[in-house]
């Protein structure tokens, strides 16, 4: 996935057919993280965490709906049989980046939170290997998006 063009409003990327398939396939996994995963505080247990959980639940529902729209909106992904161009606004790129990070984080959690993230202490089987692959795939697309969103990288 290569950045072709970046303006103040939008970004254009070129993807191969396999990259497009990986991107669309990985988005189908969303969400992997429970809304209750993150805590609000470590030393203030009196804080109401139901508010945060509710916000995160709504956030994930909205993201799932946006993913479904993204996957069927062919106008954003034009091309021939081998290469595709993805044209998205900066707002959409920021959203896609966050979704991919959520999937990367969720894959790590599903692997049992190994340290280091890529291997330490994880028993490799069919399931953990697929989550490891998902982590790497998300990281690949995240770095491409960051090149467009944060050009100083």
């Amino acid at each position: 996935m290569n950045l072709l063009q970046a303006s103040n409003e939008s970004l254009v990327f070129q993807l191969s057919k396999s990259e497009k398939n990986y991107l669309f396939g990985i988005l189908q996994l969303y969400p992997l993280i429970s809304p209750a995963y993150l805590s609000m505080s470590k030393n203030a247990p009196w804080l109401d965490r139901t508010l945060l959980e509710g916000l995160m639940r709504r956030e994930r529902q909205n993201n799932r709906e946006k993913i479904d729209s993204f996957l069927i909106d062919n106008d954003q992904m034009e091309g021939d049989s081998d290469h595709f161009q993805l044209q998205i606004s900066r707002t959409q790129a920021d959203w896609l980046l966050r979704v991919l990070n959520d999937l990367r984080l969720g894959s790590w959690i599903m692997m049992g939170k190994p340290f280091p993230a890529s291997s330490g202490g994880t028993e490799f089987n069919e399931q953990t290997s697929s989550y490891l692959a998902a982590m790497q795939i998300c990281g690949f697309f995240q770095m491409a998006l960051l090149k467009g969103l944060a050009p100083a990288l």
């Binding site: 993150l38 805590s39 609000m40 505080s41 470590k42 030393n43 203030a44 804080l47 508010l51 945060l52 916000l55 995160m56 956030e59 920021d94 980046l97 966050r98 990070n101 959520d102 990367r104 984080l105 790590w108 190994p114 340290f115 280091p116 993230a117 982590m135 990281g139 995240q142 770095m143 960051l146 969103l149 944060a150 100083a152 990288l153």
Partner: protein, 82 residues
């Protein structure tokens, strides 16, 4: 972003081995509007020291920042200053 000595909550971002440093830098810039140099400094601290205090502020604002950071998948919490 120190908002005065009366501020009673710290917004803390905790390190993990999964979030890419470049991503953390971008997220901090997006949430706080910081220049890249400041965001880089904090993301390095998060990765190297396991945590970084990002803001001192009143509860409502701290909750807002924590929620925004968690929308980026960062492990952020607010802690009462003792």
């Amino acid at each position: 972003m120190v908002e005065g000595f009366a501020s009673s909550f710290e917004v803390i971002c905790w390190g993990d081995p999964i979030n890419l440093r470049e991503y953390v830098t971008y997220a901090l810039q997006s949430v706080f509007g910081w220049p890249r140099s400041r965001a880089v400094q904090h993301s390095a601290q998060i990765q190297d020291q396991g945590r970084s205090i990002l803001a001192f502020c009143p509860l409502e604002r701290a909750e807002h920042y924590v929620h925004e950071l968690q929308k980026y998948g960062l492990h952020a919490t607010l802690e009462a200053r003792v």
